[in-house]
Each structure stands twice: as C-alpha cells, then as structure tokens.
C-alpha cells in the first residue's frame, strides 16, 4: 500500500483499530480473563442499554449534534411505571405496552418543545432529566419495587436464567448458539455477494475485491469467535436478541429509508433541506419521539436485568449513549454518523469498563479514564478531518 492509502485506511478504521488495541491491552493486563466466555456474556448484557440508547441518540445527533439528556430519567420512569403495574398484578403485556407508550408520549412532549417551539434541545431535555427523575421517585415512593414476572424477566434478558434455550441439549456446549453464529455468517456473506454481483452487472462502482473479502473474513471470524465463546458458556443472552433487533432495524432505517435520508440531510444543511421541500420540524420531532421510544425499551431491559426498579436507575445512561455515538464517529455538528459506529463506540466503552473492573481498578479512576477516552476519540476525529483540508 502507498503512504496515502495507509493514512486513509487508518483514518477510516481508527476506532476499530483502537478497539483491537484495547482488547489486546486488557487481554495482557488481565491475563486473558477479559476473553472468558462469562465476561463476554456480561459485556453484552451489561451494556445492552448503551446499544439501544446510543442508537436512539444517534438519530438525534444526526439532526445537528442535538443530544437528549433526559434518557436516563426516562429509562427510570418507564421502568418504574412498568414495575409498579406488574407489582399490582396488571397483565405483563399491558405493562410492556404502557411503558412503550409512555416513552413515545415523553418523546412527543420533548419533540414538541424542540421542533415546534424552538427550545434548544439541551434545555428541553435537561428539563426532562429533572422532571422524569422526580416522577420516578413519586411513582416508586422512593422505594425499590421488585419485578416478579418470570416471563417478563426471561424475555427481556434478566436475572440468572437469561439465555435462549438450547434446542439440541448439547453438554456444556450450546449448539443453538453456534448454529446461529454460522447462519449469521452465511447470511452476511450471501447478502454481500448478491450486492456485489448486482452492482457489477449494472456497471456500478464496486470496492476492490481483496478489501471486501478481507473485511468479510474478519467480520465472519469475529462473529464465529463470539458465538463460540457464548456457546461455551450458556448460549445466547436474550438481551443480545433485542440489541441485534434494534441495530438491524435502525441500520436499515438510517441507510435505506426516506426518513433516514432526511435525518442526515437536516444535520448536513438544515436550510438546504428546508428549501428542498422537506418538513424539517417534523424530522426533529420524529428523532425525539423515537428517542423516547427507545428509552422506554431500554427501561424494560434495565428492570428485567436487575429484576427490580429503583428511583436511581438510569443515572448517567445519557452520557454513556452520547459517548458511544461520538466515539463511534458521529459528528458533533450533525449529518455524520452511523449505527455501526455506535456499535464500535459502545463496545469500546464496554470493554474499557470491564477491563478496568477485572483489573480491580478504583471506580473513580475508571471514570477518569472513560472521560479521557471520549476526549481523545473526538479530538482525533476533529484533527484528522482538519488535516484533510
């Protein structure tokens, strides 16, 4: 490779390379403990909320670097209402529905102030952050309410038994999990191949074959490796199903649909978008309604995992979500970012968290490191873009 190519490669895959280096670093310092199946499993289920909230946050950030500070409180509030309902023996399905509707309503409330009343998102959601934390306390009356519904906990990946059952009953090795990994790889390769053949036949530009193959091999290897690790523990954590569902749906939404296109366009140049006949207010509104919805989903996952609801749940979640987006390459000015980036960002933060915990590092220093990582990631992004000009 030429020098220019190398630097372009480094720039494009900075965060992936950083992720690899971080994993290697912690593998050495924890003597390989971080790669134990149990720990990989924890990494996923402990960070499920970051993936879900980060995806919602991405849509807000795309519209122009707008963030939502209220998500932590909304997670707590939606969870609190759901836990109370189930505690009062309301039907589980009704409780789930109620939580999601609450999320959407909160999103509409905040979206209304942001999109139509032009209240800066920072302020509108800061207000929500206070208000819904308060409401959570009121609903729970300051106490812990435990979640007892077994189905609810199982479906949303909480408690001790939170795995997709193994249909093959393998001894100590979960065949279903391994099979799912293999199927995922096959689908991935098939889709990529089909796209490539399509593009070639229509005479469109295609990426060089070597690069595509290399990329496919690496991604496939990672999927199979994770599947193997999970299989040798207890199998697929149910929370992983929800994460994948959210990532796939929103990955599609952002890249293939009209509304996805509008989100990027508004963040890239709001005036030009408005003058193209697009209702930009509605775009902002939708981004925040969606954020409310995903915050409620994260609330569901949170109370299921912790099998309870407390007034302090969700504190600082908003910052994890925002951090994941920015580490994943979203632009603080909007218009740039991707769901794949959120995955990288969330994983990177998760690995750092877990690695430091296993090393037995002081929690307070962990926060310092997290802060520095965020700063360096964004600074690097800004600098590498400046260099291009």
């Amino acid at each position: 490779m030429e020098k220019a190519n190398v630097s372009a490669f480094l720039r494009k895959y900075t965060m992936i390379i950083a992720l690899v280096l971080v994993v290697v670093f912690f593998s050495i310092t924890t003597e390989g403990k971080i790669l134990f199946p149990q720990n990989i499993n924890n990494l996923i289920s402990q960070n499920a909320y970051v993936f879900v909230l980060g995806t919602g946050m991405l849509l807000c950030i795309l519209t122009g670097g707008n963030i939502d500070l209220s998500v932590g409180s909304v997670v707590c509030f939606a969870g609190a209402v759901g836990a109370m309902m189930m505690d009062k023996n309301v039907n589980v399905l009704a409780a789930i529905l109620a939580m999601l509707v609450i999320g959407i309503l909160i999103g509409m409330w905040q979206g209304f102030w942001i999109a139509y009343m032009k209240v800066p998102p920072f302020i509108a959601t800061l207000a929500g952050m206070y208000a819904f934390r308060g409401f959570s306390n009121v609903v729970l009356q300051g106490m812990t309410v435990s979640v007892k519904s077994e189905t609810f906990i199982k479906v949303f990946g909480g408690g001790a038994d939170c795995y997709v059952p193994d249909f093959f009953g393998g001894e100590g090795f979960n065949m279903t999990c391994m099979l799912a990994g293999c199927i995922a790889v096959v689908i991935l390769v098939a889709v990529q191949l089909k796209n490539r053949i399509n593009n070639k036949s229509r005479g469109y530009e295609t990426a060089p074959l070597g690069g595509t193959v290399a990329k496919l091999v690496i991604i496939s290897a990672v999927i199979l490796w994770v599947a193997y690790k999970l299989a040798s523990h207890k199998g697929i954590p149910t929370s992983l199903i929800w994460i994948l569902l959210v990532l796939l749906v929103y990955g599609y939404l952002t890249t293939k649909t009209r509304i996805g296109r509008y989100l990027y366009a508004v963040g890239g140049n709001e005036k030009a978008t408005r003058l193209s006949g697009i209702n930009t207010k509605k775009v902002y509104f939708i981004a925040y309604v969606n954020m409310g919805f995903l915050a409620a989903l994260a609330g569901i996952l949170t109370i299921a995992r912790l099998t309870s609801s407390q007034p302090t749940y969700g504190q600082g979640y908003e910052m994890d979500a925002i951090g994941a987006c920015f580490i994943g390459g979203a632009s603080a000015y909007g218009g740039v970012g991707s769901v794949a980036g959120v995955v990288i960002g969330a994983t990177l933060m998760g690995v750092i968290n877990q690695g430091m915990s296993i090393m037995g590092m002081d929690v307070n220093y962990q926060k310092v490191v997290k802060g520095l990582v965020l700063l360096i990631a964004v600074a690097f992004d800004v600098l590498s873009k400046r260099e291009k000009k």
């Binding site: 229509r202 009209r258 890239g268 030009a272 006949g277």
Partner: protein
C-alpha cells in the same frame, strides 16, 4: 498639492482559482474623501481587506505605503495602531452590550484585570458627542436604530484614534435621512482633517461627498476622477463602472418559441420577517412566458432574492399579499412542498449555505428535492437513485470521479451543476435561478448558460436573477429592473443596455 497619506502599489490578490485583484493602484491624499466604486464583486471590499490586514502581509503581492513607510500588516490590530480603521458593511456591534462596552471592545479602558467603567463610559460619551449622538453610552445597542448604530461604529473608530477611516457601504442599511446625516458627518470630519475612503453603490452619494473617485472593475483600477479638475456626473461614473465590451460569452438561442404566460405574479408585497413594518417587495408584478428567459437586474438588497423566495412557497417574509398564477390558474403556495408540487423551483444564490448538503455525495444531493419519486413506500431505491444521478452528471457534464463524491469536494462550477441537477430532477415548469453563475469561472458559466438555453428550448420558463449586467443582457429575452423592493423598469432585450439599467436604478433611487 497635499501630502499623499496612503498609496497602494500594484496590489494583486489571488484566491484559489480567482484573481480578485490584479495590479490595483490607489493613491489617497491627506484630508480628502476618496470614493471607490464598482460593480458587485469588482474587488472593492477585497482591496480594503488587504489594506486593513484582514488578508495579512504575504497573502497578496504589492506594497502598501502609509505615511511614507511601507507597511506589513499581519492582523487588524496592526493597521489600527497606525490609525487605519475599517467599518464593515454589516454592522459589527453586539446587540446585548451597551454602546460603551461595544465602543471599547478589544480596546478596554483601565487594567486588563479591572476595567475602569467610569472612564469607559465617560470617554464613550465624548466620542458620541463628536458624531452627534445624544444617547447615553450606557444604552444597549439593540435599543437604538440602525442609523444610530452606524454612528456608534464611527464613534468606535474615533476611539481608536483613526486617521484614515474606511467605510464599506455605510448607508446600505440606512434610510434617506440617516444617510444624509452620515454623509454630512463625513464632510465635517474632513474639515477637521480626517481622511476617509468610502465604498458605495449609491452614485448620488458618491458625487455629493467625494473629492476623488476611483473606479474598480474586474479586479483592476480603471481610472481615478478628480472632482476639482473634471466634471463628475453619475453618467460619467456609470460609464467607467460598466465600460467593458461584451464579446461572444453567451450562447445563442435558436428557434425557441415563446409561448403562453407560464407564471404571473400580481401586486406582490412582502414584509420583512423581523421588522414587519418594512416592505421588502412592494407591489411587484412580473410575468414569464413559456420558452422565455426573464432577467431580474438590480443592486444587492433590491429585494430580488426576497421576491423569489416569497413566491417559492413563502420561504421568506411575512404578510405576503398578491396573486400568483401558474399556467393560467391562481395558486396559493403556503409551503415549499406545495411549490415543488406545482412545478416551481428556486435555485438559491447561496449554493453552499442554502443549496447543498456538502457532507453528502452528489447522488444524495441530486435527489433530495424529489426523493418521493425514487422511494416508493418510504424505502429508497438506490439503483434508481444512482441512475438518476448518473443521468444528470452526463447531461450537465459535471466533472467528478463518481457520483459518490462528496459535494463539498467539488469546484464551485460543478457544485452549481449539482444544484441545477437537483432542481431539474424535481421537474419544474418554472425555474427561478438566483445568481446562477456567482463565483464560478468563465468556462463553467458558458456551460450553465447552455443548460439554461436547453431548459427554455424544452418549453420551460427561466427567471434569472443576476447582479452581473452583461449576463442579464446576454441571456434575457426581457429584463425587469428592481430597486428598493419595486420594479423600477422593464426593458426588452433590444432596448436594454448597461447604461439604461444603471440609470433606471439610479433615478428610481433618487425618487424614493
């Protein structure tokens, strides 16, 4: 003969791709008012930016000799220390600070850690008196009118001990009375020995106040007229400003049939969105036929863009009144979406700010205004989108490695083509092109003109807003001249000339 205070020798300034100033010479004597005139984009403001150090020494060629010594200004502070103070066209005051705070911003009284507010306001009041303002310097800037704000700017310049005052279009946002007061203030300062340079479009003001007039055209000095040796009339100045020859820069249209009226605007009045009492467009009536290119000429701030945007789904202004007919039927376009549906397109003058999403590729920009047509059931058909982008790239001869190229990396001419492609893909019957060739090179201009010709040949109507007189004359079948929000005149292609247009503008300005 008075002493020469400032001499700018052979100043050449190049921006990437454009030579903004080409061997400009300017000589200003002590105690005179020297006017710089020229069309939009002739290079007047660039020259003043070179002088004041906004473009630092080393980014231009040539010498600045001030007070007998060669100056190498690295930043604005350097030139201000010598007493050269520039007052920009857009007022640079901070609305929520007091007059006094504004006046000494970056030039604070007292110590750096302890501003002496008594001294600040005391001194500020003195300078305000000098410029004839009776306001207290403790008043917030937002609470005084634009006329007074302009005077505050001058007071601020005096506070910096200005010896050479440069005013860039000082009266462009002022009404008649405030303008007169400002010009008289300049004459008063002159008596006290101040030297000033004024840049202005308003030739009657220039003729009133200036001792000498230097004409700049296309980045070069054309001539300097001295009021005391030659008779200076507005016609004489206009001749200097526009006196270039039109050669074969515009492709001819052959056999384009001009048909029925495609769009008609009647009694169109638009008010300013922030100051609703101000009329930006006043009772404007225009019409465009099928196959016709109609030019709208006028100076900056004449209300042309505002007219176009208010027609385009009320994207500008408040209290819009008047009738709009498209293809013979009256329509009420309240949103941009409705305007596009009714086959109207507005191609903005500000392609980077209002037209394109620079961080997105050509493909995405091309389809943005008509995304519905390639996204059945909300899902974007990427194949179709790619085909559309490729089709327009071929049609408009956009130079780019691929349609996946980010628009921000293209040259101005190619960006303009992408912008045109975007609106052509929206399939309009009437296109309003606002400064379609601003800031692009001659070759690309010619190609844009060819595209305009193809559009009208296909039976569409084009309204072309342009500040470049030769372009308006070379391309239009008919020309409306706008000034101060009104249609000041209408000329057919045969009767139009640069002098006629300029004199319509000047005479209508005087009447107001």
């Amino acid at each position: 003969m008075a002493k020469v205070l400032l001499e700018m020798k052979n100043i050449t300034k190049t921006f990437p791709g454009v030579k903004a100033l080409d061997n400009v010479n300017l000589k200003v004597e002590e105690g005179e008012i020297h006017a710089l005139v020229g069309e939009n984009g002739a290079g007047k403001s660039t020259l003043m930016n070179v002088l004041s150090g906004i473009y630092p020494y080393g980014t231009y060629e040539g010498d600045i000799v001030y007070n007998g010594e060669v100056c190498k200004f690295g930043k604005i502070k350097d030139s201000e220390e010598k007493g050269i103070v520039i007052i920009h066209q857009e007022l640079a005051l901070i609305p929520y600070m007091t007059i006094g705070e504004n006046m000494f911003l970056g030039n604070e009284r007292g110590k750096s850690a302890a501003i002496d507010w008594n001294e600040t306001y005391g001194e500020a009041d003195e300078y305000l008196k000098m410029v004839g303002l009776s306001e207290s310097s403790r008043v917030l800037v937002k609470d005084i009118g634009t006329g007074k704000q302009q005077l505050v700017e001058i007071a601020k310049a005096m506070a910096k001990h200005a010896k050479l005052l440069i005013l860039d279009e000082p009266t462009s946002s002022l009404n008649e009375k405030d303008s007169q007061a400002l010009l008289d203030l300049m004459l008063k300062f002159k008596k006290e020995g101040m030297t000033s340079i004024i840049i202005s479009h308003k030739l009657n003001e220039v003729a009133y106040v200036a001792d000498k007039i230097t004409v700049i055209r296309d980045g070069s000095t054309i001539e300097t007229m001295d009021k005391h040796t030659t008779e200076i009339s507005e016609d004489r100045i206009i001749k200097g400003m526009v006196g270039r020859e039109i050669t074969d820069r515009f492709p001819k249209r052959h056999n384009v049939k001009i048909g029925d009226v495609n769009m008609e605007v009647k009694n169109w009045t638009v008010h300013h969105p922030l100051y609703p009492e101000r009329k930006v467009c006043d009772n404007v009536s225009i019409k465009v036929r099928k196959g016709e290119v109609v030019g709208i000429s006028g100076l900056m701030g004449a209300g042309r863009t505002e007219l176009a945007m208010s027609i385009f789904g009320q994207s500008y202004g408040t209290n819009i009144s008047g009738q709009l007919y498209l293809d013979g039927k009256e329509v009420h376009l309240k949103t941009i979406k409705q305007a596009i549906k009714n086959k109207l397109a507005y191609v903005t003058e500000d392609r980077k700010g209002n037209g394109l999403v620079l961080t997105n590729p050509i493909r995405i920009n091309t389809t943005l205004a008509n995304l519905d047509s390639i996204s059945p059931r909300m899902i974007i058909d990427k194949d179709k989108e790619y085909q559309v982008a490729e089709e327009y790239r071929g049609k408009l001869k956009t130079k780019c490695p691929s349609v996946e190229q980010n628009v921000g990396n293209l040259s101005g001419g190619n960006q303009q083509k992408v912008l045109l492609a975007k609106w052509m893909f929206a399939d309009p019957n009437v296109l309003i092109l606002d400064e379609p060739t601003r800031g692009i090179d001659v070759g690309a201009k010619y190609e844009i003109y060819c595209i305009i010709n193809e559009l009208v040949a296909a039976g569409k109507s084009v309204v072309m807003i342009s500040s470049e007189l030769p372009e308006v004359l070379g391309m239009s079948d008919r020309i409306y001249v706008m000034n101060e929000g009104r249609i000041a005149g209408e000329l057919s292609a045969e009767e139009a000339s640069q002098e006629r247009i300029m004199s319509i503008i000047v005479s209508s300005g005087k009447g107001a």
